[in-house]
Amino acid sequence: MALLEVNDLRVSFDTAAGRILALNGVSFSLNRGEVLALLGESGSGKSVTASAIMDLVPNPPGAIDHGSIRFDGSELLQLPRQERRDLCGDRIALIFQDALAALNPVYPVGWQIAEMFRIHGRTVQGGVEKAVIDLLTAIGIPDPERRAKQYPHEFSGGMRQRIMIAMAVALEPDVIIADEPTTALDVTIQAQVVDLLNAIRKRSDAGMIFITHDLGVVAELADRVAVMYAGRIVETASVFELFDDARHPYSVGLLASQPRMDTDEDELVPIPGSAPNPAALPSGCAFRTRCPRAEKLCAEVVPHLETVGPGREVACHFPVSPA
């Protein structure tokens, strides 16, 4: 059985432009020890998926309208609020993109890491203070005894992101959700953080959902990839299958539009147009207005995810043929 199973999740928000569907039937599963990348562009619904799992969808204006999120056998959407909150942070942890906004500026970072143990009532052998120092050491912060007493503004952006990671893994959660944890970082610092996350996943048996728009990071870290577009998952595949043999025209377009470091291309091959307005999605397939393969059927019938191979699903009436 999968560790985390999301089924037909629908989330909507009230906006000035009317009610918009941020998630329009999202289903995926995550196994122990697995890294699943949610790959998509802004507005595709990646972060809303994370918020829904963590019970962080602001209500109002947002609401989970439909669907189920099963974690380790229990249905999260049916749990009493307090039980659900206890679970989040303890067994399911979230690493935010913006570490400066996520850390409290008026408390030392050591205190904030220790708070994880206090709030969730954990006692640790050797004391919480030692656990904090061990965590700071594990994430490569030099001079941890002194650094634990410092405030977030005294750390660089990369260190703050590593502190977020330390907080997320402090209670050894079963699921780690990382929401664009490297997007705001410089490339050399990004490499450090990706290496750290890789080391953590090798040490623990946790499943990780890695939210990103960066194909390079996906290639470095993910086992499986779910490609999102306009509130739906349009393709799931192993990382190798996706890069070698993408089937959904959007995935194919995304891969082709990236300049490469190892070959010279005369012209990049962009996807025409831009992401649709979520308040006025095209009928049928939301990608059809930008799709080179679109036909009449695409405007009429919404394509649903269909299994096309072991662990492979595509939501497209006219998928690209296997390579």
């Binding site: 562009e41 802004s42 660089s156 952006g157 990369g158 260190m159 410089d186 490339v187 050399t188 610092i189 990004q190 490499a191 450090q192 990706v194 290496d195 728009h213 960066d214 194909l215 390079g216 990071v217 996906v218 290639a219 470095e220 993910a222 990382v239 190798f240 890069f243 377009g253 995304l254 891969l255 539009s257 990236q258 300049p259 490469r260 470091m261 190892d262 291309e265 012209e267 990049l268 091959v269 962009p270 996807i271 025409p272 831009s274 992401a275 930008r290």
Partner: protein, 328 residues
């Protein structure tokens, strides 16, 4: 060789008092030829933005000069600066903040013509606006809309159209695609490539995305802590970088190929960027460099040819190509 379009010599930009200034740009020299694209890369705090702002004279230079067609930007003011700005236009990073939300597109585009009379007569504004919009992939009817009615990619096209109104010879692009989605990025990169071919535009292309810089540039310049530490034709920089920092930078770029996972040499830099108020003596990179020796603390390495790579200039006492970290 013909006279370069832009000739920057010993340019510095310091902030704060004279006792302990922040040396954001420190004694930087380079050239851009007509029609050439120079990519500028480096991480936050390396001085990219300060350099760009000094070149555009959005802030004063502390020292040195920047000649465009032989006229020093840093010493220009009034009418002369106004004239220089015609030749040198900028595309900003954030297309949401760089366009006046209260101006309709036709006014946004024609405003520079009102400020620089004599380039396009008023009777032709409408026709020229349409031509420009079409040249950046927008349509005539877009002239009657407001910026809020456009997507990010379209706004960046507007920003480019506006930068082209005065027929500049140099286009400074400060992270022009980093705010855009990946699928849209490629559209704007292709647009810039086409425009520079058609108009023989020279470009200074600032970006942190190395793959984009590699795609669009003829030459590339790497900055670290206010200094140019390596520069050369893009194939020399990307296939035979000789500066340890360039090597670390290239090795850190994730490769979009899962089969290469863990197979590439990755140089992980230790520590953080030192403060530009009190930069390390000698080579500024030495505090994080695995090759540093005593000479690095004593002597600042000059930016000069140190390896066999074609046209490559490296500011490092221990410059040496490392094939294992070449990006190409």
């Amino acid at each position: 060789m013909t006279e370069p379009l832009l000739k920057v010599q010993n340019l510095s930009r310091h902030f704060g008092g004279t006792s302990a200034p922040v040396r954001a740009v420190d004694d930087v020299s380079f050239e851009i030829a007509r029609g050439e694209t120079l990519g500028l890369v480096g991480e936050s705090g390396c001085g990219k933005t300060s350099l760009v702002r000094t070149l555009l004279k959005l802030g004063p230079a502390t020292g040195g000069s920047a000649l465009i067609d032989g006229v020093d930007i840093t010493r220009s003011s009034g009418r002369q600066l106004h004239e220089l700005r015609r030749r040198m236009q900028v595309v900003f990073q954030d297309p949401y903040q760089s366009l006046n939300p209260r101006m309709r597109v036709d006014r946004l585009i024609s405003e520079p013509w009102a400020l620089h009379p004599g380039i396009v007569p008023k009777s032709l504004w409408r026709a020229e606006t349409v031509k420009l919009l079409e040249s950046v992939g927008l349509r005539a009817e877009h002239a009657e809309r407001y910026p809020s009615e456009f997507s990010g990619g379209q706004r960046q096209r507007l920003g480019i159209a506006r930068a082209l109104t005065l027929n500049p010879t140099l286009l400074v692009c400060d992270e022009p695609v980093s705010a855009l989605d990946v699928s849209v990025q490629a559209q704007v990169v292709n647009l810039l490539s086409r425009l520079r071919r058609e108009r023989n535009l020279a470009m200074l292309f600032v970006a942190h995305d190395l793959a984009v810089v590699r795609h669009i540039s003829d030459r590339v310049m790497v900055m670290y802590l206010g200094k140019i530490i390596e520069t050369g034709p893009k194939h020399s920089i990307f296939s035979a970088p000789a500066h340890p920092y360039t090597q670390a930078l290239l090795s850190a770029v994730p490769t979009p190929d899962p089969r290469l996972r863990g197979k590439r040499k990755r140089i992980v830099l230790q520590g953080d960027l030192p403060s530009p108020v009190n930069p390390p003596s000698g080579c500024r990179f030495r505090t994080r460099c695995w090759k540093a020796t005593s000479i690095c603390a004593e002597q600042e390495p000059a930016l000069t040819a140190r390896t066999s790579a074609h046209g490559l200039l490296t500011a490092c006492h221990h410059a040496e190509a490392d094939p294992a970290v070449a990006g190409e």
